[in-house]
Symmetry: C2
Subunit: 434 residues, 2 copies
């Protein structure tokens, strides 16, 4: 097999020029978003918080959207991202399978979130918006939007989940450094925040609650729109650059994937990787698409499929998705980006139709593999991304029982340089020899 | 001018294949290293702590050394590094000059230190050494050697300057994650450390003292060698890949540099950038080579030229260099990598002969420019690297008085993702609008 280089890079001119919309190719049409009165949401109802282009992308069944030139230019600062064969990891595990990782950590924010942040900032800018409000869990999304706001000259206010702010104070520093304002959520500047504090002054906060705060703020100010880092169709659409590039890179490597694995919180990095391969699966190619989620917040594995709000206060439409219930309070795990009660409607639909399979991972297992990966690939995975890594390693080890091992690809959605307190906790329980 | 891309990348096969040794080209021969009795040090005296190949590189006047294939392979994981035109920074400053930065932060350790760490680990490995002892200030060098030790299968013990360990605890986490053992310096495992604690239990520690500890340990154990991250000739030799690549990249851009600027602590990133251009300067090309150092630790600007020890305990030979005196205790500035009393003998010689000019930078000025750079280039500079950035901005602004602006190149020696506490201190004194 013609793999001479460990890393498959694409030239700049191979940056995808279109986003792929999976909606027309889903086995079952996506059920509509509903109002609390169970009436399908009208596009204009979303206009209070989203610009027209993003509403169109959210609801359209057009198969492709051209990526506007200013967004291509922004993406070209770090894309195409490398696909690397983790030869050191394969050796350390002692497996015959090939393991590749798509390295989204090379973006300015250190994660895949920049792919959609740049797009959303652009579409808001051309719609005359001056200011964006958003939420962030682990801080990767808030960082990405702070940078995109700076790049496209928009002010950004970030509601950051309280427990994540405590765990990762330097995420706030980065967002401030990039010019964004950061408030701890629940905050006292919104009704949703004040209500939550009244109910439980010691609440850890949740992503669902921070969404309520940002939506409330955007809906009440005409110069401000809301920006969401995951879950919605238009966010997954922007992330399809990941899967499109993986396809080209695997073609260059001359291999077909048996497993494509990404972590799943709201679903954007998983969806961005997976949906460009859905037509291949539907046409009979055997590809295992696995969504890795935390044992302690297993929305796809243990959630109920139906309509539920995307936020705690019930300000968002009811989305057709797997959900643990909007009031579910996940424990304070390190992978703050995966602490979400719901799931992407698109990914939910793919799980429902059996095209995507979820698997859960516990904290000990993921840090164990993250340590091996750090010592063989010299990139420290974000705890979120380590969920995908752990499932990949697990599968590669299982495949050793088979006559023919496989080709496994996972998305390293972000680096863990701002998650070292999580690693410190793990290492202090698993001390090195002195 | 044919600059269509902001970033000039070189293909993998353009990784330098030789290291350039400036010793035969220095205007004045480098004075010998001396013993405390003022006798030139014999090569075999260094054999207790260094492998033969590194001793040869330290003392030889051979102009080029081939880079061994395993080291090229290691470097090819991240080299050649990009040279990027900082168009956003130029605009923010309102200057007509072109500003380029050589981005060494893309290495596995996040800094230029990996260039020499890989080389030193290789030469120790082939000499049969099993274990390396070293010191680290800001932690960049310790991280780089931890990774190189992991890569070449060597154990690593790092003596980390106490004040840096307190300022940047997560540097220890990374080193541990990469398999290295980290001790706070002064430690109780060496005579030098115990002596320092006895003299001042509250000492902040210094790089010079941490060097004493690592040298003492290496000299007293046959399986262990010492590894130094800067100052010495062989370290600068390994770093010449930086300057060699810059030359090629500027040729591709079709420009000649007027200013080449890097920060100077022990001198390795400055030397690595500058020395490949020394023959050009000697043949009459007008290039300003500027070493940026902290106001509070101005070894080149305010130090005395002569022979001095590289460490506090006087275990190293007397080196011909500018020095503030081996007992100089710099204040606890954020740029821990620049808290060194001495300077590279090679850079000292170049300063003495007027080829290199030092300039000092204060903390306020450097964070001010680091903020602008972060918001225009979306890379957060290490505080050390921000010294080079600040001098570059200062020069670009000065050049506005001239009819013809210039071409300025600086080395972004490392990223600041593990220095966010320093940025937090700066931002909290310079709060953003709320």
């Amino acid at each position: 097999m013609p793999i001479n280089n460990l890393t498959i890079k694409l030239p700049k001119n191979e940056i995808p020029r279109v986003w792929y919309n999976v909606l027309p190719d889903l086995p079952e049409p996506l059920p509509p978003y509903l109002t609390p009165g169970n009436v399908p949401v009208e596009p204009q109802a979303l206009a209070a918080i989203f610009p027209p282009a993003l509403i169109e992308q959210e609801l359209s069944t057009k198969r492709h959207f051209d990526i506007p030139e200013p967004v291509v230019e922004a993406l070209s600062r770090w894309r195409p991202t490398p696909l690397t064969r983790a030869v050191g990891l394969e050796k350390a595990l002692g497996v015959r399978s090939m393991i590749f990782y798509k390295n989204e950590s090379v973006s300015p924010s250190g994660s895949h979130k920049s792919n959609t942040a740049m797009a959303q900032a652009h579409f808001n800018k051309i719609a005359g918006i001056r200011r964006l409000a958003t939420e962030t869990g682990a801080g990767q999304w808030g960082t990405a939007l702070a940078i995109a706001g700076q790049y496209f000259n928009l002010d950004v206010r970030v509601f950051m989940v309280r427990v994540s702010l405590q765990q990762k104070p330097y995420r706030k520093t980065i967002m401030n450094l990039m010019g964004a304002e950061v408030l701890s959520s629940p905050s006292t500047v919104t009704n949703a925040g004040r209500e939550a504090i009244k109910n439980d002054p010691d609440t850890l906060g949740t992503l669902g609650l921070a969404i309520s705060e940002a939506v409330e703020e955007a809906a009440s100010r005409s110069d401000t729109n809301y920006s969401l880092g995951s879950v919605l169709n238009h966010v997954l659409l922007h992330q399809t650059v990941i899967g499109q590039e993986i396809k080209k890179q695997l073609d260059i490597a001359g291999v077909k994937p048996d497993y494509l694995i990404a972590c799943h919180g709201g679903g954007s990095n998983f969806g961005g990787m997976a949906v460009p391969f859905v037509p291949d699966v539907l046409s009979g190619q055997k590809i295992n698409l696995i969504a890795a989620e935390p044992e302690s917040c297993p929305s796809l594995s243990k959630g109920k499929y139906g309509h539920d709000h995307g936020d705690v206060a019930g300000l968002t439409p009811l989305l057709p998705m797997y959900s643990l219930g909007k009031d579910f309070q996940p424990p304070a795990i390190h992978a703050g980006g995966l602490r979400y009660h719901g799931a992407s409607p698109i990914v939910s639909s793919l799980v429902k139709s059996g095209i995507v399979v979820p698997e859960t991972v516990g904290a000990y297992e993921l840090f164990q593999y993250a340590k091996i990966f750090s010592r063989t690939e010299f990139v420290i995975p974000a705890p979120e991304s380590a969920h995908a890594l752990a499932v990949t390693c697990r599968k590669a080890l299982e495949l050793e029982k088979e006559a023919n091992p496989g080709v496994l690809v996972f998305v390293l959605s972000g680096h863990g340089l701002l998650d070292l307190s999580a690693y410190e906790d793990y290492l202090s329980e698993q001390p090195e020899k002195e």
